[in-house]
């Protein structure tokens, strides 16, 4: 309990009971402490306000653990599922909702929440915005790429003397002060210019490479429209992971996407480590902070060696401080960072590592092996290269989105160039515990589109549903509350017009804790 997050203290005490419970669940789930869950689970579940009671008759209830119940009767009271019966008969006089297909609310274990609503056109390639702002929108082609992996006027216009906006090609010198960057910075201003959706600037931290004592929660606008968008896409629970600016980044947040604002936050999650390069920033390697001259005070690792060193040093500092030794050196992390990392080393706080390329994945295993920490692998684009390693190590994986040509955040990095469409299928068949994420991609379907693509690319439909329900729930330690349509679970439900995740059917209704939070064509409650 002593690792109760700092930020909880100023919050209202009425919130505390809920929040603490979920926070614990969140931490301990990854640490495999089901006993804690069971013990703590009972009293905290009941939300403060009385919710609607609903009885649903579904032709097919896709439970979320692989089962499909025909003609299922689902009864919801106070936002909790109180009974699920196949071929059951509805009691007289209840408010019966007849639906064709129903699934649990979806869970995105690596959502990039749009805190400032800056991803105004969701799912759009940020590079397209640059080109649009420059009046070069016409020249955007998803397939035309610069050697640095990005689309730029230099490539699309085939004009030799125009440099790539991202890497300066044909100079091949991605220097932060090259004219191309200044051009963008001048015309668009700041981090947005670098293809960065503005919000990521908010939840990126650039003051230091080691900031595990920060929390993403502090940057999240809980009233952001993005929550509504997620709800509409059937996503009822998200885990917001920090972005990739810092090598040892902030702690993520577990959130509900619906319900009263005050109750959306469920708890702090894992510390996020980032190996390899920083996707938000040009993608070729780490960059110095915006609008700042590079100096010893703003130094950042700019090779993979440097990144691994910063990671190592941070944990070494924590070990030293635990022994009472004061660490020294230019890159010494702060004492508060060390305190959090000590908890990580002790297995009290989970660790998540974003490692996209094959070598980075290997580095993650190597580093964590050195310190004896378990971790969750986030966004391993090139996981297909090391399926063997992932399946034999039993590491949990948060994968996605599925793509051949990257869009969204991943369009900004050259770490997304070797994706394969069979990765997810191979991860699943080799028994890796995978959760599927859409990251920043929104649009008509968001996360459910990822499931569509998973099914198209060889994942069994029943299994594919688990990738966005049961698996992430387990990963996040909330599988006692959400993730399946079972008695005692929160009534987060998604009603489909037909077969879920078919391109010919769509989400008609979304229930959040028994309440209709989205009804197609109707007024949102």
């Amino acid at each position: 309990m002593n690792q109760q997050p700092r930020h909880l203290s100023p919050m209202k005490t009425s919130l505390m009971r809920c929040a603490v419970w979920f926070a614990i669940a969140c931490w301990s789930g990854i640490l495999a402490l089901p006993a804690v869950l069971a013990a703590e689970g009972e009293d905290a579940v009941t939300p403060a306000e009385v919710l609607r009671d609903v009885t649903i008759r579904a032709q097919r209830a896709h439970v979320g653990d692989g089962r499909v119940l025909e003609n299922a009767l689902i009864q919801v009271q106070d936002g909790i599922i109180v009974s699920v019966v196949a071929n059951g008969t509805a009691p007289e006089g209840v408010n019966l909702l007849e639906v064709s297909d129903i699934t649990p609310g979806l869970i995105d274990a690596n959502a990039r929440i749009d805190v400032a609503d800056a991803i105004y056109f969701p799912g759009e390639d940020p590079r397209l915005r640059i080109l649009r702002a420059m009046g070069l929108e016409e020249h955007y082609h998803g397939g035309d790429v610069c050697p640095c992996g990005s689309v730029c006027p230099a490539m699309t216009l085939h004009v030799a003397d125009v440099m790539c906006l991202y890497c300066g090609w044909p100079d091949h010198d991605p220097h932060p002060h090259d004219p191309a960057e200044e051009l963008i910075a001048g015309s668009l201003g700041g981090d947005q210019a670098a293809g960065v959706p503005a919000p990521s600037g908010v939840i990126n931290e650039q003051s230091s490479e080691v900031v595990p004592h920060f929390e993403v929660l502090d940057a999240i606008d809980q009233g952001s429209d993005d929550f509504d968008r997620l709800l509409k896409e059937g996503v009822t629970t998200i885990y917001v992971s920090p972005d990739s600016s810092a090598v040892v980044g902030a702690r993520g947040s577990l959130m509900k996407t619906g319900g009263p604002l005050a109750s959306r936050y469920l708890g702090a999650g894992a510390v996020k480590g980032v190996l390899g390069s920083d996707a938000y920033r040009y993608g070729s390697r780490n960059r110095s902070p915006f609008r700042t001259n590079v100096s010893v005070y703003t130094r950042r690792p700019d090779s993979r060696m440097g990144v691994a060193w910063v990671f190592r040093k941070a944990f070494h500092d924590a070990l030293l401080r635990a022994k009472g030794v004061t660490p020294s050196g230019a890159d010494t992390s702060s004492p508060s960072a060390s305190r959090v990392l000590s908890s990580v080393l002790a297995g009290e706080i989970p660790l998540r590592i974003q490692a996209r390329t094959g070598p980075d994945i290997e580095t993650a295993f190597r580093l964590c092996g050195e310190f004896g920490v378990r971790f969750t692998l986030e966004d391993p684009v090139e996981a297909w290269k090391r399926i063997d390693l992932l399946s034999s190590s039993g590491v949990d994986v948060v994968f996605g989105p599925v793509f051949d040509v990257p869009s969204g955040i991943l369009a900004g990095t050259n770490e997304s160039r070797e994706s394969r469409l069979h990765t997810l299928r191979d991860l699943v068949t080799s028994g890796v515990e995978v959760s599927l994420s859409a990251q920043d991609l929104r649009g008509e379907e968001g996360l459910s589109r990822q499931v569509m693509l998973a099914i198209r690319h060889g994942v069994d439909p029943a299994m594919a549903l688990r990738l966005v329900t049961q698996n992430p729930a387990k990963l996040l330690g909330i599988d006692q509350q959400v993730g399946t349509i079972e008695t005692g679970k929160r009534a987060d439900l998604v009603v489909w017009s037909g077969t879920p995740f078919s391109s010919l059917s769509r989400i008609e209704k979304v229930l959040h804790e028994g309440e209709f939070s989205f009804v197609r064509g109707g007024v949102k409650k």
Binding site: G66, R420, R425, T487, G488, S502
Partner: protein
């Protein structure tokens, strides 16, 4: 509907030769020799006779035929019928059992096939996309992979008056081989081109046609005088200029048109269509005014983007076909409240009864890049599957004015047929084979790039039944808890076969998602307090 009557020949040889006068002389003879060689081959012809049998034929124009037969001779469909249809003894038979045959999709508007989508000149009606067609573009390969067999390649929207478009097949080594109809339409834009304001855009657009009118009048006058001179050498009494101009109009011959004005003349006399880009609602009115002014109603198509659907009443009243932007959803943020309002654009046109075509996404995002998926989105919004399929095949062909040859499986149409593993609109269906003019243009089994991105699962059972590979790649995983990894760990080797686990799952393969578990529900969760 064939309002556009351009020549169906890919390219007139003499025109090609005239081009060659620009090339260095030693090259000319070589190229001319090559041209003669190729020109004998260019005639579209597939396998002499091809019979596609056993599949479900979605004709689009009529009823679907289960176990139907489609016969293609020399690239043209010569018979469509039930299994009783007589198959010529010398036809090459392709067994399509278990598959769905659909007409190839028609991409109604694309500049993806061009190396650069726009000209630097604001008005360049004299250019032809032929010269910028790049057969090696990934776009064409991807088109085949996604079931598109006819593409209306058109210059981009960043223009005042753009070049002339053409219909191409996404297969061929040269623009010549790909082209199937030259001179379909001219691109115009009432939306400001880059760097322009609306006033300048429209002023230049008007000036293009006013200049054309002036030129044409002068031409007419001089033609009249030429003819008059021929008749009587002594110019006794000449007509007043107005009359000589009006009389001279009929005397203008094709050879009198100069390069600068030829395509404009074809546009005005109806040989070319007018595809007018309106990037927002405010650009629709000037476009419609232009159409009304010039009386182009029968040949105009609006290429719409942004919030152009707000002008639906005007578009409906004008009765003009439209091509929608690939982004089918329009989001608008209310300036005062900050609320975002989403509109599914095709709904607007469907409700208004305006005929529309849709495009695949150009941004590279995966499912929207598939035009079949775009059509599926229409189905989700309430259009029937049959109608949605029609919109992306015959409907698009009608709007392009090529429905006499494309868009359905009918006798007399070009043999562009796609074999699907399932419903063409279902994202889980894959294009198995594509026939373009009766020639096998794409085969899933031989798609090297796809094989690299998405190799088949190394499954022992996969080998005997190669055709239905699509649905089978999953196996009943439900019984296997995720923790039980070790069995498969050794299996990283590609051809690791014969695991009993796989055998078991194969029986479940038939009904994957249905009901792996029979016991009624609450038992499993009863413990959950």
């Amino acid at each position: 509907m064939s309002r556009v009557s351009g020549s169906k020949e890919p390219m007139l040889p003499n025109r090609m030769l005239s081009k060659m006068m620009l090339t260095p002389r030693p090259m000319v003879s070589l190229v001319a020799a090559l041209l003669l060689f190729f020109s004998t081959q260019v005639v579209p012809a597939g396998e002499a006779k091809l019979a596609l049998t056993g599949g479900t034929v979605m004709t689009v124009s009529g009823e679907s035929i289960a176990g139907g037969v489609v016969l293609i001779e020399d690239g043209i469909i010569t018979a469509v019928g039930t299994a009783e249809t007589e198959i010529p003894y010398d036809a090459m038979e392709v067994d399509c059992t278990g598959m769905i045959l659909a007409p190839g999709f028609v991409d109604p508007h694309s500049s993806d096939g061009l190396d650069i989508p726009n000209e630097n000149l604001p008005s360049a009606p004299f250019v032809d996309v032929f010269d910028a067609l790049d057969p090696s573009r990934f776009f064409f390969e991807d088109s085949l992979r996604n079931g598109v067999t006819s593409i209306h390649v058109m210059q981009g929207n960043n223009c005042v008056v753009g070049g002339v478009s053409r219909i191409v097949h996404p297969i061929g080594l040269t623009p010549h081989e790909m082209s199937r109809q030259a001179g379909v339409a001219l691109k115009l834009s009432t939306s400001p081109r880059r760097g322009y304001g609306r006033m300048r855009q429209l002023a230049e657009l008007r000036e293009v046609f006013e200049e054309y009118d002036r030129w044409r009048e002068n031409l007419a006058e001089s033609r009249y005088e030429q003819e008059a001179d021929k008749e009587d050498d002594d110019d006794s009494d000449t007509l007043p200029p107005e009359e000589s101009r009006s009389q001279g109009q009929e005397l203008i011959r094709d050879e009198d048109l100069d390069d600068q004005h030829r395509h404009l003349a074809h546009l005005i006399d109806g040989r070319l269509g007018a595809w007018i880009y309106c990037g927002s609602a405010t650009d629709v009115a000037p476009a419609l005014a232009l159409v009304a002014d010039r009386d182009w109603k029968d040949r105009a198509v609006l290429v719409l983007a942004g919030d152009a659907h707000l002008a639906i009443e005007e578009i409906k009243e004008a009765g003009i076909d439209v091509v929608l932007d690939s982004d089918l959803i329009h989001r608008k943020r209310d300036l005062l409240t900050g609320d975002v309002e989403e509109t599914f654009i095709p709904d607007v046109y469907r409700r208004a009864g305006v005929r529309f075509a849709i495009q695949p996404s150009r941004s590279g995002a995966m499912p929207e890049r598939f035009i079949g998926y775009q059509a599926a989105r229409l189905v989700r919004s309430g259009i029937t599957p049959a109608e949605a399929l029609r919109i992306v095949t015959l409907g698009a062909a009608e709007i392009c004015g090529i429905d006499d040859r494309y868009g359905s499986i009918e006798v007399g149409k070009i043999g562009n047929i796609v074999l699907w593993t399932g419903d063409p609109l279902d994202l889980n269906s894959w294009v198995q084979k594509v026939f373009v003019e009766g020639i096998l243009a794409y085969d899933l089994e031989k798609d090297a790039r796809l094989e690299r991105l998405f190799p088949e699962e190394p499954e022992p059972e996969e080998a005997p039944a190669p055709l239905d590979d699509e649905g089978t790649s999953e196996e009943g995983q439900d019984a296997k808890p995720a923790e039980g990894t070790p069995e498969k760990t050794a299996g990283e080797a590609p051809a690791d076969d014969g695991e009993p686990l796989e055998e078991k799952s194969s029986e479940k393969g038939e009904a994957p998602a249905d009901k792996p578990v029979d016991p009624p529900k609450e038992s499993s969760v009863a413990g959950g307090e």
